[in-house]
């Protein structure tokens, strides 16, 4: 007998129909998120390493020194259970840790402690806004594992000379969430991730703003429509790609879009698509083939003998979940009079929802405030790649109040906001909105201040004046525009309209 005959790679059958209009995209995700505990999963080292030098948050255990033993962080298990419960999973009566054996310098022990055939939880779901309305994405499993260390490749990425290793990250608790291949487009994948992120942040177990706190592997293939429902997973007619190394929310959509184009092109050219592991290169927005060696990995899992099984199903009954995104969305519509779209936007990000909930009641119930946050503020933040947590809450309340009190116009408000955000991005701090209004001279001009400007404009635009007199109504709007330009939008449009009309009409024909 030959002892080591591997499974042959899944190859495509060239006889299957390749009508591209009849194809659909099948996506499944494996998401790794760092759990926001104070200490690592198996030792008492602090997880707060991001501002410190390499190998400053390590101990004999997370360095993998011989003779050391892991011990499970209870908080990490509690956090993982919260996630499992929020994702409607079935918690296993008994679960256990296992060793995943592979040799790489980022592994302190030559194996990673993870969970394998007895994970913490299985069979859950998360509802998202899909391409065709509400969609239920099934969760295959939720399990815990330790993060490996961080590698720095020296001597250029093309031909590295050696590797530097930092074990500060080694042992940070990760939760791995695996979905069924239920997603049908990059956009759906993105929406799923956004919803998942919001859910984890609502639970208080994850901080998406910490660098490197998310890693996603995506399984993607293009199959004839309906095939997947008929055949189920694991019987791919055409090969699928596992795209690894995606480490941002935006990257997921980019990587998947690239991969779909690549696969579609291959199918169109009649090429065989072998199942393959590919790496996402974020800087170039492309996926590249991995060395074949990685595909042949045999991780040789077995139960971790240094740890004892977990029997925590009963704990989950005692967990009281906080208000989650869907519930908050309903409340925002009811309590603050949000439109469903605005409610989805604002509650879709835990920080934004918290920001809103912390506004004074009278400001919060206004539809204008909702619009201001959902559209203006988030748009301006997104444009600058900034987060709501960069915005001082008090400043924002002051700005909204200035608008509400008619001290400045809506338009001036936007100008103030932009200036403040620019300052924050530049210097990390900003002046008060009232100071900004003063500096930019944006205080709303009342009716009395208008007359000189109007006279000035009328004097400069005799043609428009006579056009108005001869009944061309566009001329009126033109003249209003000229005044707005001169006052840089700080006049109240209603008042301006009234005074302009009075002035023109008093001149007579």
């Amino acid at each position: 007998m030959s002892v080591l005959s591997g499974t042959p790679p899944v190859s495509s059958d060239s006889s299957i129909a390749t009508d591209p209009s009849n194809d659909e995209v099948i996506i499944g995700l494996e998401i790794h998120c760092q759990l926001d505990t104070s200490t690592k999963l198996f030792c008492g080292c602090s997880t707060d390493y991001r501002d410190d030098g390499p190998n400053t948050h390590v101990c004999p255990i997370c360095l993998g020194l011989p003779g050391t033993l892991p011990k499970v962080n209870k908080k990490a298990v509690e956090y993982a259970l919260k996630v499992a419960k929020a994702l409607n999973c079935e918690i296993l009566e008994e679960s256990e840790f296992a060793r995943k054996n592979y040799f790489y310098p980022d592994l302190n022990k030559g194996y990673q402690i993870t969970q394998y055939d007895r994970p913490l939880a299985v069979r859950g779901y998360l509802d998202i806004e899909g391409e065709d309305g509400e969609k239920r994405v099934r969760i295959t499993r939720v399990h815990m594992e330790e993060d490996p260390g961080r590698l720095v490749h020296k001597g250029g990425t093309d031909r590295p000379k050696y590797t530097l290793v930092d074990y500060n990250r080694a042992g940070i608790p990760l939760i791995e969430i695996v979905t069924e291949p239920d997603l049908r487009s990059p956009k759906e994948a993105r929406r799923f991730l956004n919803k998942l992120r919001a859910t984890l942040e609502y639970l208080g177990v994850y901080d998406s703003e910490k660098e490197g706190s998310l890693r996603v592997d995506a399984n993607i293939s293009i199959q004839p429509r309906g095939w997947f429902e008929r055949e189920g997973k694991g019987k791919a007619d055409r090969g699928r790609a596992e795209v690894k190394n995606i480490s941002s929310y935006k990257g997921v959509e980019k990587a998947l879009t690239f991969e779909i184009t690549r696969q579609k092109n291959a199918i169109r050219r009649g090429q065989k698509l072998e199942s393959a592991t590919r790496h996402f290169v974020e800087t170039r927005g492309v996926t590249t083939a991995s060395r074949s060696k990685e595909m042949e990995q045999d991780y040789r899992y077995f139960p971790e003998p240094d740890l004892r099984p977990l029997r925590v199903r009963s704990w989950s009954d005692k967990i009281v979940l906080p208000e989650l995104p869907d519930a908050r969305k309903v409340r925002f519509i009811r309590e603050y009079g949000f439109s469903p779209t605005h409610a989805a936007t604002v509650t879709g990000d835990w920080r934004v929802a918290e920001f809103y909930d912390n506004l004074p009641k009278d400001l919060a119930v206004s539809a204008a405030t909702a619009t201001w946050i959902a559209d203006t503020l988030l748009g301006e933040l997104n444009y600058r790649d900034m987060s709501i947590s960069d915005v001082p809450h008090g400043h924002f309340i002051e700005l909204i109040t200035l608008i509400r009190k008619d001290t400045i116009t809506d338009k001036s408000g936007v100008e103030v906001l932009r200036s403040l955000l620019d300052q924050l991005k530049e210097a990390g701090s900003c002046e008060k909105p009232s100071e900004c209004v003063k500096r930019l001279n944006l205080a709303k001009t009342g009716g009395e201040g208008l007359e000189p400007v109007i006279s000035e404009v009328l004097a400069e635009q005799p043609q428009a004046v006579s056009d108005y007199a001869s009944g061309k109504s566009e001329a009126f709007n033109f003249l209003i525009g000229q005044v707005m330009k001169k006052t840089r939008g700080r006049v109240d449009p209603t008042e301006l309209n009234r005074v302009m009309r009075e002035t023109l009409d008093s001149r007579g024909p």
Partner: protein, 435 residues
């Protein structure tokens, strides 16, 4: 507390030590105040090189003490040196040490047994009164039997493994070795303490003075312990020993242990599987001889392991890798765990009928140096010691006469957490012999 110095003669005729401390400091007035204690070299000692008898850990100085070493120091023991062993505990002779074999003080043409051969030889040679050994499949009991001393493998989970460099985590325990049962019992009292760092320990302290009375104790004697492969002369001496216990008032019950037939295979599949994973951390990046950073990672890793691990270690890593590999896990690792469960079930059943189980520790007397050159025949000699490790029950070896002028060990196994009971029976036997 003022530090005192324990004088210790490091004259080592048997290559029992890999490292000695001539004037070992000690502090305090505890149960072991001023007593020189040797520590097997797979147990971490802060500031003292700890190599596991392997070149791959050459020069490695742990930045922490194993929990048991902390306990020894707390009781005033003087750590006088690190003892020789089969590399990573993989052997039954101490010939697999990268630093040369230890010789048996009873006959320097023979092995002391292994893998805690250095500790046993140091005691048998009178260099130290007591020592720490570790027992994965007999590594305390085998050298104790071969060198004519006493060694106890505690109940799994009774002694913390923190600081013990792992070979097969689910099987191994640190345990006491000494010239007599009383000293073993004293040392056991020090080693048994709750350690929050080892998730597999139980808080079961050992506060016991050996009791000589075995009247009414039921001793099970499984046929399989006197089966094929057991030297009839050894069997005969051990039966004489068991008869002595009967004369002292114990009741002898012959019984059967059918799970023994697959116990050795189960043991070797389990220990090599765990070892293949445990020994992956020695990549030369964080400690030990360094890897060659001019090479590519896998090339360097392979070369490092080929050059610095001995043959037996590499053989076991490969066997374990195979046993866990995709397509073979079910045939080997999973079946081994089922067989292990059968061994546990056999012990459970027998311990409903008897209080302890007795038999020979080893099927033969100590081998001649170089005699066991074939790996499988060496493995087969562990047949009588591995059941206790598979089931996690306590087992002691106590000297029981001689064959061809070489010591023979009587093995006594007990229920989980009844280490006290096996010590008592061994004590009764020891005192009965000398009476």
């Amino acid at each position: 507390m003022a530090s005192q110095v324990c004088r210790f003669d490091p004259e080592d005729n048997y290559n029992a030590f890999l490292k000695t401390v001539g004037k070992a400091p000690y502090e305090g007035t505890g149960k072991l105040a001023g007593i020189p204690v040797a520590v097997k070299d797979n147990i971490s000692t802060k500031g003292i090189t700890t190599t596991c008898g392997s070149k791959i850990l050459g020069g490695y100085v742990p930045p922490f003490d194993a929990f048991v070493v902390e306990l020894l120091k707390k009781e005033g023991a003087a750590i006088v040196g690190k003892t020789n062993m089969d590399e990573f505990g993989m052997g039954t002779t101490t010939e697999n040490s990268a630093f040369g074999p230890t010789l048996n003080p009873c006959d320097t043409g023979r092995v002391p047994g292994g893998s805690s051969g250095g500790s046993a030889a140091a005691i048998a040679a009178g260099m130290v009164p007591m020592a720490l050994g570790t027992d994965t499949g007999g590594s305390i009991r085998c050298p104790s039997a071969f060198c004519g001393i006493v060694g106890l493998k505690p109940t799994y989970g009774r002694v913390s493994r923190y600081g013990l460099i792992a070979y097969a985590n689910s099987l191994e325990q640190i345990g006491p070795m000494a010239g007599n049962v009383t000293d073993v019992s004293t040392l056991m009292g020090v080693l048994c303490a709750c350690d929050s760092r080892d998730s597999t320990t139980y808080d079961r302290p050992y506060c016991h003075t050996p009791d000589i009375n075995v009247r009414g104790t039921r001793i099970g004697v499984p046929e399989e312990f006197f089966g094929k492969g057991v030297d009839p002369k050894v069997a005969s001496v051990v039966w004489d020993g068991i008869s002595l216990l009967e004369r002292l008032g114990a009741e002898i019950v012959t019984c059967r242990m059918p799970s023994m037939s697959s116990a050795l295979a189960a043991y070797y599949v389990t220990c090599t599987s765990e070892a293949s994973s445990n020994l992956a951390r020695f990549d030369g990046v964080r400690y030990g001889p360094t890897s060659d950073t001019k090479k590519q990672w896998h090339e360097s890793f392979q070369d490092h392991r080929r050059e610095l691990f001995g043959k037996e270690v590499r053989r076991r890593i490969m066997l374990g890798t195979f046993a866990l590999s995709s397509g073979y896990y079910g045939k080997y690792y999973a079946k081994a765990q089922a067989a292990r469960q059968n061994v546990k079930a056999d012990f459970d059943r027998l311990f409903r009928q008897v209080d302890v189980i007795a038999g020979p520790t080893m099927p033969t007397i100590a081998f001649k140096l170089g005699e066991k050159s074939d790996p499988l025949s060496m493995y087969l000699s562990d047949i009588l010691t591995v059941p206790a490790n598979l089931a996690g029950v306590p087992a002691i070896s106590v000297p029981c006469g001689r064959v061809d002028d070489m010591p023979v060990g009587l093995q006594i196994m007990g229920r989980h957490f009844e280490d006290e009971k096996v010590v008592d029976v061994a004590y009764a036997f020891e005192q009965g012999v000398s009476a």
